[in-house]
């Protein structure tokens, strides 16, 4: 439509120093592909979840570097862009079954967290709005649960480690914290444990066998006639 075309102009972006004209409204990744780049590294889920498309950019006229995921951030006029498809951050080797979570285990495996100077550069680099400095501080204090909680949204893009003046491997350390939390500290969901037991003991074997042997018509009929729980009294759930 005519009004569409008027609103949707073309913008200029600069990729590794070279200027391109691309339609406005595209993500950085789409804009770069429009410009003719083919991502063989630094692209993955394209949904903001895998952390592969770390991007460093700057607006024209601004001295500050900014950080984003190329598949999530909208390309703006005057953006200077570069991709960081890989972060060479070493990961500690450990056996989750053999770790003693009672001691300052995070400091043991990642002693460089003691070099944190609380500059907050990591937080500023995070495309997921995580309070990265806060979780490093929690880890330094031995608070594994807090480290796990604060770092939950991390997608391992590596931008924090690339910017850190103390060479800390934030995301690897946080992943260790989350693994320890899950393995040793989070409460066991008893109903899940019980259900897994029941399955192992074969409580649902007959029913599963019956389902597997049904024809398509039988399945459809069984689905339509399935037992549905009553919505709890006073709840907002309606048919």
């Amino acid at each position: 439509m005519a009004s569409d075309k008027k609103d949707r102009g073309m913008i200029h972006i600069h990729v590794m120093g070279k200027t391109y004209e691309v339609p406005a409204g595209l993500t950085i990744m789409d804009a770069m592909e429009y410009a003719g780049y083919r991502f063989t590294r630094g692209a993955g889920c394209r949904s903001g979840f895998c952390g592969a498309c770390s991007t460093v950019y700057r607006y024209e006229g601004d001295y500050r570097l900014q950080f984003a995921l190329a598949c999530q951030e909208t390309a703006q006029d005057g953006m200077y862009l570069v991709q960081l498809p890989f972060t060479p951050a070493p990961r500690a080797s450990y056996d989750i079954e053999k770790i003693n979570p009672k001691e300052n285990v995070l400091l043991q495996y990642y002693p460089e967290i003691a070099r944190c100077v609380s500059c907050n550069t990591c937080t500023k680099a995070c495309p997921q709005d995580i309070q990265v400095m806060d979780y490093i501080q929690a880890a330094l204090r031995g608070d594994i649960a807090k480290t796990a909680e604060l770092s939950f949204d991390c997608i391992q893009c590596g931008l924090c480690s690339m910017r850190c003046p103390a060479d800390i491997k934030h995301y690897h350390m946080a992943q260790m914290a989350r693994r320890i939390y899950g393995r040793y500290m989070s409460p066991v969901p008893q109903h899940l444990e019980d259900r897994l037991q029941e399955i192992a003991q074969g409580k649902f074997d007959d029913e599963l066998d019956r389902l597997v042997s049904m024809s398509r018509e039988e399945l459809e009929a069984a689905y339509a006639a399935r037992v549905r729980e009553e919505a709890p009294a006073g709840s907002e759930i309606s048919e």
């Binding site: 300052n104 400091l107 003691a114 070099r115 330094l140």
Partner: protein, 146 residues
Amino acid sequence: MEETVTKTKQSTQDEFDLLEMSMDEIVDKVEELSGENVFDCYQCGMCSAGCPMAEEMDLLPNQVLHALQVKDPEVMSANSMWICASCYTCQVRCPKGVDLAKVMEAMRQIYLRKRMDHVSLDGLSHREIRRLPQIAVVASFRKKTG
């Protein structure tokens, strides 16, 4: 009990060569970073008398200052700056108020700012780190890594 040897790097002649700085430049840098004038020291020895680490040092605190005054490169290969505990006993007792702790820090920073760390993170075993409180690890890394 298995002893794990902690690898600590000492200043050596090789490291001094890597600095690629003349003693003139080094002493200038020390004075710039510390804000102290090395010629304020008149060698009374009060600092060395009170220094808790004096016995472990290749050059005593007053000898360190003297070496800087005469631009003796031995001062940059001595262990004095690395065994210093920043306890400030020297500074509070110096009759001229020379901040020797800052002079030691300046000498350390000359190496550390060129990425020549003096405690090895890899050299510390898990067992060693596990028994240390954070306060010790953080302070050690602040003083001996860049």
